[in-house]
Symmetry: C2
C-alpha cells in the first residue's frame, strides 16, 4: 500500500532559534496537522510591543488542508497565539482538559467564546484523519495535563515530545508514559522532534515533589504570614502550597488576575484538590492572625504590574508587607528578568520581610528535561531522524550533538530554521525549500501594524529623544513668516539648554535664508538641509543624535 | 591624647543598594579621605544614558577638606567616575601602579593628562595625613594590584576591604595579606566595611588558577584558531591565555580597543610576562595556520559594538569566524547581559565554531569572596562595628546576617544608604543625618543635563512613539490658517493608517472650531484640549498612548 516515494513535510513556523512562539506544521498531501500555536514575549529592543506571534501566512494560504491545531500543553508559548491565529483560520483545536480550559478562558478575553471548535482529548487518545492520525501521550512538565504528540503518517511515526521532563513522582500521580515511548521506539519512529530547552544542563531535573518538601520546611518555622509567588499555570506547585498550608492549618488566599483565572479553571476542572474552608477571599486575610495565612500570588518574574511587585512597592490594595512576613519566590528568573526580580527582592527585604528565593533554597525546579532525561528519551524512541526543537540555536546545536553522541548518524540530524520545509520519507530527510514565516508584533489592538520602521523610530526616540522644527512659509514667495520654532522631548533639560536651542534656531534661519538665495524650493531639500545642519551641530555640542523632525507649513 | 568624644563620619556617596558607583567618604574634622570613585552602567530604563556617576556635591562643598581619593583597584566601578569628579575637585589620587596606569590612560581620553596629581603606592604603604593615615593592604581580586584600605583615625582603625576574594594561588604569586588583616584584628578594628557582592554564594570562590587549567585542556585539543573573550582588566586571565598559548606554540593577537589599551598599560608596567615573538599584530593572523593562533578579545558580555560581537555578526574587519574556530567566553554574563551574550553564542555556533562558555566548562571564576571567605575575613578582623558595602540591599542584608551569625551584636551592624552620615566613635555607631547624594547621568558630552523628566519622555517615546500636531493661527482673529498637520513617528505604519490620521485631523479641526466658538484663546487651553481629544481617540482605536505634542504657530 505504501509508496516508497511518499514524503511528509515538516515546517516549523516558530520555536527554532528562539524561546517561545512554538508552532510546527506536519503536512501530507491535502492534510495539515499543526502542533501548538504559541506566543513569545518581546525582546528588549522590541520597544512597546506587547507580544510576538508567529506569521501564519502559510496556514492561511492552505487553510483547506488544515485539519486542526493539536496542543501539547497550556503554556503561553504553546497556546498564546491562538486567539489571533484562530481569527484568521478557524479550525478545530485539540487538547487535554486543562489545556482547553486555559484556552477557553483566553478565548473569552478575546470575545471568541463559542466560536471555536474545541475538542477535548485524553492521553492515549488517537484522532484519525484521512491519511494521518494523531496520538496524545502523557508527559511530565511544569503544567498539568501535558502531552507529547505522535503523528502516524505514510512515512511512519513522527513524534513531537512537546515540553517535557521525566518526573517519577509527579504531584498528580500521572507519570510520563515512558512505556508508550518505548513501544513507539520498538515499532520504529521515523522522526523525533524534541524539546531542547535544558540541553546545557547535566544530570536530571529534580521532581516537582522536592519543592513541596522545601515548602514544608519553611511552613514549619514561619511565625507570620507566608506569601508564595509562582507561575499561575504551575498548578502542581500551587497544589503543593495548598497541601503545606492545610498541614500547618493556614488559610489560602489568591492574588493576581492570572492566578485567579487559572485557579478558577483548575478548581472547576478538578485539577486542584483543596479542603472546604481552606480558600478564603483576599479581602478577608486580616480576619486571621498572620500565622494562619498563606497568599499565593503572581509576580515571580518581578513583572512591574504584578501583584507581588505592587506589594513590594506598597501599591497593593489588599496586601501590605510587614516585618515578619515570609515571601517565597518559587521560580527562577527567566533570562532577561533578573533585574526585575532582584528589585522586588530588595524592596521586600527593605520592608523587613524574610525573602526565600532560588539563590537561597530549593524553591523551584525546571519543567524541562536535562541531559540524562533527553538521553533516556532518545534511547527509548530510537528515531531514525532527529530534529531538535524549542530552543535558541545553541540549544539546538547541543541537542544535535547529544543525539550524535548517542550514535545517530550526523546525516540523520537536521537543525532547521523557522520557515524551512523539511521533507522526510522513510529513508531520507532534507530541507527542500522555505515558506513565509517570521514574527508578527502585537501592540495594543494592532496586530502587525508595528514593523521594523516603527521599531527603529522607537529605538531612535528612546536613545536621544526628538527635536521638532516647525516653519510656516508663504506659498507664493517662499518667505518664512513664522518660526523656526524648535520643541524637543527626551533630548535635554529645556530650561538649562536655552542657549543651545537659540543657537539651533539661528542655524535653521541661516539654512532657510541660504535655501531662498539658492532658489531651493523643494520641501524635501529644505528639510534635509535643516536636518543635516542640526544633526551635526547637535552632535558636536552634545555627542547625541536626537531624531530631527522638520515640519513646513504653507499658507 | 584621644578624646573619648571623638567621632569620625562615614558617608557612602555610592555603592549601597546598588552594584557599582562605589565611593565612600571618611571624615574627621577638617580631613576627608575618599575611597574609590566609580561609575555604574545604566539600568534598562535609563534610556540613552552612557554611564552613571555619583553625585559628589558634598565633596565640592568640602573641597578644602578632601586630602585625596584612595583607590582600591582599577575596575570601572571603582575608578570610572574620576575623569568627571576630578574636573570639579582636583585632589591627589592614590593607588597602586597598575591602578594608576589604568587611571592615566582613562584621564588621557578625557584630555586630563598631566593635570591630576597621581601618587603611586605599594601594598603596605602608609600615607600620613594630619589626623588620619591610610594604609594599603594586598588583596586578591579579578584585577591585579588590588588592595584593601585601612584608615587610622582618632576613633581607631576603619578597614575597607575593597573588592576581594581569598586566592591562595594567585597568578602573580601576590597572595592576599591575611596576616596583616589578622594583625589589625588583634590590634582592634573599630569599623569594617566589606564587599557583599557574593554573599549569597555558599563555599569558596575557586582560584583564578583553575581557569588556566581549563584553558590548557581546550588548548591541548583545539585543531584550529582559539579566540578567548574576557574582561580587558582581568590581566591574570590574559596572562593565563598567553601562558597556555606559549605552551602550545601559538601566537597571540589582541582585538578590541579596551583590550589593546589595558595590554599596553600592563606590558609597560610589567604586569604581563610574555616571550619575545609571542604577540603579533591582529593584521598578521592570517600569516599563520589556525592552530598557531590565539586571539584575545573584548566582548565577553555580548556588548553590541565589541570585537567579539562584530566577529559573530561578520562585521569585524580583521577576524572572520570559520568552522573549526574554538571560541572561549571566559566570563559570566553580568545580570542584564544574559540575552546579549546568548545572541553572540548563537551566532558563533551558526558559523560553525565551537563555543565554550560558563554553562559548558569552568572558564570563569568570580573575583569576589563567597560566604566562607567572608567569614574568614570577619573572623580575622573581628571588627567592633560592621557596615556591609558593595551590593544591592539583598546582599547588604545577608551580609549583615552573616556577621550576626558570627556573633556580632545586631546593634553594631549598620545597613546604610547612599548619602547617610554614619558617626562612629570607639564605642558607638549611628546614623546622624544625610547629605546630598544620588546619581548623575552622563549622556554624550552632557553630565547631569539628562534628568528624570528627559528620561520619562524617552520612556514614553520608546513605548508608543510621538504624534506631532501643528497648527498655524492668525494672531488677531484666532483663525486657523494652516493645518492641522499631523506627523507621527514610532506610532503606527503611516501608510496603513491614513484613515486613522485623517479622522484624527478631523477631530482636531472640531476642537479648534469649538475653542473659537467658546472664545478659548489661551494656547495652553487649546493645546490641552487637542491633547485630550486625541489621547482618548487614539487609545480607543489602538490601545496605545503615544506622546502628543501640539504646536501652535502664530502669524
Amino acid at each position: 500500500m505504501r509508496k516508497e516515494r511518499d514524503k511528509v513535510k515538516i515546517i516549523p513556523l516558530g520555536g527554532l532559534s528562539e524561546i517561545g512562539k512554538n508552532i510546527t506544521v506536519i503536512e501530507y498531501k491535502d492534510e495539515i496537522v499543526v502542533i501548538d500555536c504559541g506566543l513569545k514575549f518581546p525582546d528588549e529592543e522590541m520597544l512597546g510591543i506587547d507580544i510576538v506571534i508567529p506569521d501564519t501566512t502559510y496556514l492561511k494560504k492552505n487553510i483547506n488542508k488544515v485539519k486542526g491545531i493539536f496542543l501539547t500543553h497550556g503554556h503561553e508559548d504553546h497556546i498564546g497565539a491562538l486567539p489571533y491565529v484562530l481569527k484568521e483560520i478557524n479550525v478545530p483545536v485539540y487538547g487535554t482538559k486543562l489545556t482547553l480550559g486555559i484556552v477557553e478562558s483566553k478565548l473569552q478575553e478575546h470575545n471568541l467564546n463559542g466560536v471555536v471548535d474545541l475538542r477535548c482529548v485524553k492521553a492515549k487518545d488517537v484522532i484519525k484523519l484521512n491519511n494521518m492520525s494523531v496520538e496524545f501521550i502523557r508527559t511530565s512538565h511544569s503544567i498539568a495535563d501535558s502531552t507529547a504528540i505522535a503523528v502516524y503518517t505514510p512515512v511512519g511515526i513522527i513524534l513531537h515530545t512537546g515540553d517535557f521532563k521525566v518526573d517519577y513522582t509527579p504531584i498528580d500521580g500521572s507519570v510520563i508514559d515512558l512505556a508508550r515511548f518505548a513501544e513507539l521506539g520498538k515499532r520504529g519512529v521515523t522522526l523525533m522532534l524534541a524539546d531542547s530547552t535544558n540541553v546545557e544542563r547535566p544530570g536530571y531535573t529534580m521532581s516537582e515533589r522536592t519543592v513541596g518538601q522545601t515548602f514544608q520546611k519553611f511552613f514549619a518555622v514561619a511565625k507570620s504570614r507566608i506569601i508564595v509567588a509562582t507561575f499561575a499555570s504551575n498548578i502542581h506547585r500551587i497544589q503543593q502550597v495548598i497541601t503545606a498550608a492545610e498541614k500547618y492549618d493556614r488559610k489560602v488566599a489568591i492574588s493576581g488576575r492570572s492566578m485567579e483565572n487559572i485557579m478558577e479553571v483548575a478548581l472547576n476542572l478538578g485539577y486542584i484538590s483543596v479542603k472546604k474552608n481552606t480558600l478564603i477571599n483576599i479581602d478577608n486575610i486580616n480576619k486571621y492572625p498572620g500565622n494562619k495565612i498563606v497568599i499565593i500570588t503572581t509576580g515571580s518574574q518581578g513583572e512591574p504590574m504584578s501583584a507581588l511587585s505592587r506589594m513590594a512597592a506598597s501599591e497593593h490594595k489588599k496586601v501590605n508587607i510587614i516585618p515578619g512576613d515570609t515571601i517565597i519566590i518559587s521560580a527562577n528568573p527567566i533570562p532577561g528578568n533578573e533585574k526585575l526580580v532582584s528589585r522586588v527582592i530588595n524592596q521586600l527585604f527593605k520592608k523587613g520581610a524574610e525573602v526565600i528565593y532560588e539563590a537561597l533554597a530549593d524553591v523551584h525546579v525546571s519543567g524541562h528535561a536535562c541531559q540524562e532525561e533527553l538521553k533516556l528519551m532518545h534511547t527509548l524512541v530510537k528515531p531514525k531522524f532527529f530534529m531538535p526543537v524549542h530552543g535558541e540555536y545553541r540549544h539546538l546545536k547541543q541537542h544535535a550533538d547529544l543525539a550524535m553522541n548517542l550514535g545517530l548518524n550526523p546525516n540523520n540530524v537536521v537543525i532547521a530554521d523557522n520557515g524551512d520545509v523539511i521533507e522526510v520519507s522513510r529513508d531520507s530527510i532534507r530541507k527542500t525549500g522555505t515558506v513565509v514565516s517570521g514574527q508578527v508584533f502585537v501592540d495594543g489592538l494592532g496586530v502587525g501594524d508595528v514593523g521594523n520602521i516603527v521599531l527603529r523610530d522607537r529605538r531612535h526616540l528612546s536613545q536621544d529623544g526628538i527635536l521638532t522644527v516647525v516653519i510656516t512659509i508663504e506659498k507664493e514667495t517662499g518667505t518664512v513668516i513664522a518660526g523656526p520654532d524648535i520643541i524637543s522631548r527626551g533630548f535635554v533639560y529645556v530650561r538649562e539648554s536655552e542657549d543651545l536651542m537659540e543657537e539651533a534656531r539661528e542655524l535653521v534661519r541661516d539654512v532657510l535664508k541660504d535655501c531662498q538665495e539658492k532658489h531651493i524650493t523643494e520641501w524635501s531639500s529644505i528639510k534635509s538641509n535643516v536636518k543635516e545642519v542640526l544633526r551635526s551641530f547637535l552632535y558636536e555640542k552634545t555627542k547625541r543624535k536626537p531624531m530631527i523632525l522638520p515640519i513646513i507649513m504653507e499658507i
